[in-house]
Amino acid sequence: MQMQNQLKKSKRMKKSQALLIGSLLVFGGSIVLSWNYLLRMREEVFSEMKLAMTDSLPVTQEQQTEGGPVSGGEPEYYENYTIDYSKYYGVLEIPRIGLKRGFYNVGSRYNNIESNVTMVEGSVSPSEGNGNLILMAHSGDSYISFFAYLYRLGVGDDCYITLSGVTYHYQIVDIYDVNKSGLMVLDWNPNNRNLTLVTCTKDSDTLQTVYVAEYIG
């Protein structure tokens, strides 16, 4: 009788085995259910990396030296060059200072002030209607000082933002300095599309300069 019971036990699946199979099924099922979502995230990650890999930086050999330009010297103008608009979320162009630079969307890991012109969280793209698109970048003399020449801009200068093939024309309406306190109050027109450019004030360690531009067509 004991032998028969033992035989029955060994033929019947043990509880631990059943639980293990159940756990595996639950795990497998979760993966299957979230497969499309995971695939979408994976594609986003891969496309961001591809963008970063095929990003043709708009600098010539003369402009980009190791460690940046010689200390004390001014960085070169960025020359007019052909840019692949499809690689970026948007492109900022300021003809007065020869600036043409792509930028990434807020959620992108390349939307980082240490490598690109950065779109500030909470910005409203001109394609979304009235609001404020806020872009930041370094000034100074390193190779990431994309806003190095913003100090040469004045009220009335033109800026362009291109998003999804549509170009928005802005004009600078105000320029002011603020303290670097971690908090910045921006002055902009809520009844129009605005573009705000922020960078460190030239020759100052404590100030930031804000360039406010309004959409004109």
Binding site: L19, L24, M41, M49
Partner: protein, 191 residues
């Protein structure tokens, strides 16, 4: 911004007593804490269930009230994990190897692990070491900056080494997880 620790605690203390809502939230948290501590000895099941209900309800409330924020947080979190799996920074890859080394030492001296598990561990760790050493050798030989991930992963061999490495580690972690889960079930239900 440059507050000392005492300064920060002072700011939080002022915040708690700055409005009725913040005071209310503080008192509710304190009350829950006292009830849980008091219930430790009494071990009242109802209190445990109600406490779980309150905490879960709080989390569900956040999910319902801030659905968009929660969704974007989850998306960012999943994307970061995917980035770590497919395009880990070299710092992360380095810490993965440190972790593997610790596990290797544990496996060497463990008396609890079965022979089968030890063989699996040694096999996986040996392959991971080989991949990592190849990664370092290739990077040094081709003059890649280990900090510049983008140019590093333009090399197909380096990218394959890193991604297969991470895939192997992920499969090993899954296997180890389910293995220990099985041992737990076995101990609890089969004896």
């Amino acid at each position: 911004m440059n507050l000392s620790l005492l300064g920060k605690l002072g700011v939080i203390f002022h915040y708690i007593f700055s409005s009725f809502l913040s005071l209310e939230m503080f008192l509710i948290s304190l009350l829950l804490f006292i009830i849980l501590i008091y219930n430790l000895k009494r071990n009242n099941r109802l209190v445990q269930i109600v406490a779980i209900g309150i905490y879960l309800g709080f989390v569900i409330g956040i999910f319902v009230s801030y659905t968009t924020y929660v969704q974007s947080s989850i998306n960012s979190f999943v994307k970061e994990i995917m980035n770590y799996i497919y395009f880990p920074s070299t710092i992360i890859y380095f810490f993965i190897i440190v972790f593997v080394t610790i596990m290797m030492i544990y496996t060497l001296f463990s008396k609890k692990l079965s022979l089968f598990k030890k063989i699996v561990n040694f096999s996986v760790f040996s392959i991971l070491y080989f991949f990592f050493m190849s990664f370092l050798t290739l990077s040094a030989y081709d003059g890649y900056d280990l900090v510049d991930m983008v140019s590093l992963y333009e090399n197909d061999v380096i990218l394959s080494l890193v991604q297969v490495s991470n895939l192997l580690l992920f499969v090993w972690l899954l296997f180890t997880g389910f293995y220990h889960l099985y041992l737990y079930f076995k101990k609890k239900y089969d004896q």
